[in-house]
Structure formats: structure tokens, C-alpha cells
């Protein structure tokens, strides 16, 4: 008879894990919301707002659940509005600013492919609340990836100008993709306990999917091997601070009020 190793994860630690993914989604939702009223056409206004809404909705679910797990008396809104950039644990990719539609779609595409794999993995989480959230998120991510990869292909294989703009966007965003698959102690622990997913295990499928679309789009993956890192431990690029300052300005100006 073998003794089963105790892989139970502390409740608070699981909350911290959820907050990472909530942060990813809130920050990307906020970035997309910046683009509302700036899209190339009305159909895309609808799509961008809709996708922003999905990310922010997902963040809200994750924060709400996390707030019941982490230490101290907190709420989903407190987690979103009252933490600083050092406390935010999103990956660097989602906080990157965009200069035009190419950046918006490339950032989205690289993240969508990751999120689809992540939520697929988490849909069988041993934690029933998280698996419920993940199943819904997986459906949304499927749609998001379809939308963003179609744009990559369309514009990569469009005019020479659209091709070159998309390639520039890929070159700008690529160095923030390696971080998506970095694994730390927390990732390993949640994966071992059967409630989370180890990002390392998602990387192969992500590379295959991304390479496929980029190839079909007649674009290429940059050769520069440099990869940035640090978001999960709160070491961000300088772009997150101003974004949070704007997002939190009203909530922080009038602390403790109901809206």
C-alpha cells in the first residue's frame, strides 16, 4: 500500500492563483476598452467591446471567488481597485499598450491561444467552482481565438502594408510570450493538487497553434530570442502603472462608497 503524498494546497494560496488569472483578464479587458470608438469599422466596434466584456466578466468571477479564499476581508472590487502595480500579478503581454489595430489583434491572438489551452485544462479542475468558470471561459476563448486568428490571416495575407504592419506588431509583442509558460512554485503546487494547471504543459500546443496561424498568415516568428519576464511577481513594464492609475482613480478618490 502506498501512502498518497499530501498535495492539498492552502486555501489562501489557491486564491492567489485565481487572482493571477483575474488580473490577466481585467488588464486585457481594460486595454481593449481603450480601443472602443477607435475600431476600423462598426462590426469591429461590436466585437472589441464584446471581447472586453468577456474578459472583464471573467475577471469579476475569478476575483469574486478569490475574495472568499484569500486572507482578510476583501471584495472583488477591492482586489481590482485597491491594489498597486507591484501587487498586480498579470503577465506582461496583456498590459502592453497598442498603437493601432495590428497591435490590438496580435496581442489578443497570442493571449487567446494561451487562454483557450489554459481554460481547457482548468475545465477539469478538481475545484468545482473553478471548473465551472473555466468551462464558460473556454467557450468564450474559442470564439476570441477564431476572431483574432482570422484577422491575423486576413491582414497578414492582405496588402503589403497590412502584412508589414502585422509583422511589426508580432515583433513588438513576441518577447512577452515566453512568460506565459513560466511555472513557479505556486503553479506547480496547484497543478499537483489537481485544481490548477502547470503552464509549462501548455507551451507545446500553444507553439503549434500559433505557428500554424502565423504561417497561414504568411507572417513569421521573430528570431530575437530575448524574452521578458516578471509580471507574476509584480515586476511589470512601465505601462501598467498609468493604466491602473486611470482605472482606479474614481474608486480611490472616494474610498468606501457604494456606486
Amino acid at each position: 500500500m502506498t501512502t498518497k503524498e499530501d498535495t492539498t494546497i492552502a486555501t489562501g494560496q489557491f486564491g492567489v492563483y485565481l487572482i493571477r488569472h483575474a488580473d490577466d483578464n481585467l488588464v486585457l479587458g481594460q486595454r481593449l476598452a481603450e480601443y472602443v470608438t477607435r475600431a476600423p469599422d462598426l462590426e469591429e466596434e461590436l466585437a472589441v467591446a464584446n471581447i472586453a466584456l468577456d474578459h472583464i466578466g471573467l475577471a469579476t468571477h475569478l476575483f469574486t471567488y478569490a475574495a472568499t479564499l484569500v486572507d482578510g476581508d476583501t471584495s472583488a472590487d477591492d482586489l481590482a481597485m485597491l491594489r498597486s502595480e507591484r501587487e498586480y500579478s498579470n503577465v506582461l503581454l496583456v498590459e502592453q499598450p497598442h498603437d493601432g489595430f495590428g497591435d490590438v489583434m496580435v496581442r489578443q491572438f497570442l493571449f487567446d491561444a494561451y487562454q483557450l489551452l489554459l481554460w481547457q485544462a482548468l475545465s477539469t479542475s478538481g475545484d468545482s467552482t473553478l471548473s465551472g468558470i473555466a468551462q464558460r471561459a473556454e467557450r468564450e476563448a474559442t470564439y476570441h481565438l477564431r476572431h483574432s486568428s482570422n484577422w491575423l490571416i486576413r491582414l497578414g495575407d492582405g496588402t503589403s502594408e497590412s502584412h508589414s504592419r502585422m509583422q511589426q506588431s508580432i515583433n513588438r509583442m513576441w518577447r512577452f510570450t515566453g512568460e506565459l509558460f513560466e511555472s513557479d512554485e505556486l503553479d506547480v503546487a496547484v497543478a499537483a493538487s489537481g485544481v490548477g494547471a502547470d503552464p509549462v504543459e501548455l507551451e507545446g500546443a500553444w507553439r503549434a497553434c500559433v505557428a500554424d496561424v502565423i504561417d497561414e498568415a504568411t507572417l513569421s516568428i521573430p528570431e530575437d530570442p530575448y524574452q521578458a519576464s516578471g509580471g507574476r511577481s509584480g515586476i511589470h513594464t512601465e505601462h501598467l502603472g498609468p493604466m491602473l492609475a486611470e482605472m482606479q482613480s474614481l474608486a480611490r478618490s472616494y474610498p468606501g462608497l457604494s456606486w
Binding site: L26, Q30, A33, E34, V36, T37, R38, A39, P40, D41, L42, E43, E44, E45, L46, A49, N50, A52, L53, I56, G57, A59, T60, F63, A76, D77, A80, M81, G100, F101, R146, N150, I153, R154, L155, D157, G158, T159, E161, S162, H163, R165, E216, E246, M247, S249, L250, A251, Y254, L257, S258, W259
Partner: protein
């Protein structure tokens, strides 16, 4: 004939039979439309191609629009006129393929286009607060509302296209200042309370107008209004809910709500347009049953429903002359500042220039995207033609 109508040389006819697949696809933006399947039966679709094409969406942006396709006869037509008059007299709906007088067509196009432009420009003042919404829930609701407005715009542009004018022609007229949008959106949103006030007063005023417009004589417009009214009432309720939270909140929140009321009350009343006696389009529009109630009557209806709501919220209406007329049981307001009204209509409101330049910039920034998508669609058509 209105400047908004495309011109056609007399006798010019479009051959609509025997179009090649290539042409049809080009008109549809080179897309496979699911549900209303357009497929080439001779084309065996490989898996790769299927993947490539299956998810293509229809890009109205690429439609080569044939403005005359819905028009049977644009010349003077006695029989058509009689039928049109009968439809109007019987309170029935005029449909896109019915004969209609040029003036009617031009008026409906102008009104629907203005309505569509208002939805789209109206996204800007609210988008100004999405990023700063104070809670996650409020942020989500506001994004959903702005998204609805884009949807209304799209829906109304499509309904306008049934009259033989393309969306992009209309957008172009907007960008060049040749067509208008509701002046209310030229005012700035300066506090979170403005999100409440816009929902409550601005959407509230729009609903008063739009409920009556459900009875308008042009079928596609009337049906658009039924759908849009449902969503607008959600918008008005969310606005009222924001103000309920503020007026039952702290002193600072109450002050924020009152300041917003002070800035938006009069512009909201102006939304119904000039007095009936000054309105150039009212009489004809009423005869054609495009318009079913006059500007002043609609405004009065709005005032009577809104004043008690303001009292309920504990907000003061910024009008020293406001009084209840117990004989007619109506609220009487002071006179609107018509100088301000006309200044804003003519382009000298606080943000007229910013609203249009923002819209034009987005359109120009998107040019390479539209060109890229269009080139891609053309390549797909070429590929299909080659393999056909």
C-alpha cells in the same frame, strides 16, 4: 433631390442576371455566408480551404452596393402614388420595394441616417468613462451599453440601406459635416454622474421619441424602433440606478449628481428640436406619418414623466420658472436658450469638432485594415475562380 442620394444616369440599368460567382462573391465581400449559404457546387472544398473560409464574416464595408437594386421605378408613377397614398391613409407600412415619392425617400434617409449617426457618435461621451468606472459591475454594464449603441447604429444603417444608399456613403456625409447627429453628444461628460444622467435623461428623451416612432410609416424603421426601444429602456434604467446610488450616497456623490443634472437638463430638453413653429420638416413628415407627434408634444411628454422622477431622486431641476399647471396637469418650464441650441446645431457646441475629428481619425486609422481585408477577400475569390 437630397444631396444624400446617389445619382444615376437616366436609363442606366444594371444587369442582374448571370453574374459570375466572382462578381457575386465580390459584392458579398468575398465571404461565405453561413445560414444563407452561397456555395459553388463545382468547388470541392478541401479541409484547408474550409478552415480558411468557414469563419469569414460578412464585411459590409466591402460591399459594392448597387443603390438601385431595391428600386422598381423612380419616375413619376401615378399608380404608385395612389398605392403609396393608400398605404399611408390605411396606417400601413411602406416597404423598401414599394414606390414612394422622392421627398419621402429623402426624408426617411435623412432621419434614419441622423439616428444611426447619433448612436455611433453617442458612444464617445460614454466611452470616456468606461476606463474609470468605479466598480467592475458598473464597468461591464457601461461597456455593454456602448456596445448596444454600436449595434443600434449598425442596425439603423442597414435599415437605411434598404432605401438605396450605402452605409459608407452615409458615414462619409457625416465625416464631411453634411449630415447631423443629435446635438446632445456635443456636450462633455465630466463626472461619473454623467453616466447616470445620460442614461436617465438622454436615453429617456430618446425613448419618448422612439416609442412614438414605432408607429412610423416606413416599415424597416418602425421595426428597428421596436427592437431598439427594448434595449433603450435597459439603458435608461441603468442610468437611473447610477443616480439612485449617488443620491442615496455621500454628500460628495449627491453634489456630483446635482451638478450633472444642472448641466444636462436643458440640453436634454433641446433634444426634441425647435418649437413646432420653427421646425422645417414637421408638417410634411407628419403628413407622411414618418413623424407621429410634434417636437413640442414629445418634449412635454418627456417633461411630465421626468419631473416626478427628479423629485424622487431628490434632484433640483435647474429652472426657476418650473411650475405645475393644475388645469392641464402638466409641468411648465421656462424658455429654452435657443441661441445655444442653434449654435450647437450649427457646429459651435463644446465638442462638435472633437466628436467628428475623433470619428474621422478612427476611420482613417482603419483604412489599412479595410484595404487589407478587402485584398484578402479578393485573393480568396481568385483562388476559387481558378479552382472552379
Amino acid at each position: 433631390m437630397s444631396a444624400s442620394l446617389p445619382s444615376r444616369k437616366r436609363g442606366q440599368k444594371r444587369e442582374r442576371q448571370g453574374r459570375s460567382l466572382r462578381e457575386v462573391l465580390r459584392i458579398l465581400g468575398g465571404t461565405w455566408i453561413r445560414g444563407n449559404r452561397l456555395e459553388n457546387p463545382a468547388e470541392p472544398r478541401s479541409e484547408g480551404k474550409k478552415k480558411l473560409l468557414a469563419n469569414e464574416r460578412s464585411f459590409v464595408m466591402m460591399i459594392e452596393f448597387d443603390p438601385w437594386s431595391t428600386v422598381k421605378n423612380r419616375d413619376i408613377d401615378d399608380e404608385g402614388q395612389q398605392k403609396f397614398d393608400d398605404i399611408i391613409a390605411a396606417d400601413e407600412k411602406v416597404e423598401p420595394r414599394d414606390w414612394m415619392p422622392e421627398g419621402y425617400r429623402a426624408t426617411v434617409i435623412r432621419q434614419m441616417a441622423q439616428h444611426a449617426h447619433s448612436e455611433v457618435i453617442g458612444m464617445q461621451p460614454e466611452a470616456n468613462w468606461i476606463l474609470r468606472a468605479p466598480t467592475l459591475l458598473r464597468k461591464s454594464i457601461l461597456i455593454a451599453k456602448v456596445q448596444d449603441e454600436a449595434g443600434h447604429g449598425l442596425y439603423l444603417y442597414s435599415a437605411t440601406e434598404t432605401l438605396g444608399v450605402s452605409r459608407h456613403e452615409l458615414e462619409d456625409l457625416l465625416h464631411r459635416g453634411r449630415q447631423k447627429y443629435s446635438s446632445i453628444f456635443n456636450y462633455p461628460t465630466l463626472s461619473w454622474a454623467d453616466m447616470g444622467t445620460i442614461g436617465w435623461l438622454v436615453d429617456g428623451a430618446a425613448i419618448v421619441n422612439q416609442i412614438v416612432l414605432q408607429g412610423t410609416s416606413y416599415g424597416p424603421y418602425s421595426r428597428a424602433m421596436v427592437k431598439i426601444c427594448k434595449e433603450e429602456s435597459f439603458h435608461a434604467r441603468q442610468g437611473f440606478s447610477i443616480l439612485m446610488a449617488l443620491t442615496s450616497g455621500s454628500d460628495a456623490q449627491k453634489a456630483m449628481a446635482q451638478d450633472s443634472m444642472d448641466r444636462w437638463w436643458w440640453p436634454a430638453l433641446m433634444m426634441f428640436g425647435p418649437h413646432d413653429s420653427e421646425s422645417t420638416h414637421t408638417e410634411e413628415s407628419m403628413a407622411w406619418k414618418i413623424k407621429r407627434m410634434s417636437n413640442d408634444d414629445l418634449r412635454q411628454k418627456f417633461i411630465d414623466q421626468t419631473v416626478p422622477q427628479a423629485h424622487y431622486l431628490g434632484l433640483k431641476i435647474p429652472d426657476p420658472e418650473l411650475r405645475f399647471d393644475s388645469e392641464t396637469e402638466q409641468w411648465r418650464t421656462g424658455e429654452i436658450d435657443w441661441d445655444e441650441f442653434w449654435a450647437v446645431v450649427k457646429g459651435d457646441g463644446p465638442l462638435n469638432r472633437e466628436r467628428i475629428s475623433h470619428k474621422v481619425r478612427a476611420w482613417e486609422d482603419g483604412a489599412w485594415v479595410r484595404a487589407g481585408a478587402s485584398a484578402y477577400a479578393d485573393k480568396q475569390v481568385e483562388m476559387l475562380d481558378k479552382s472552379a
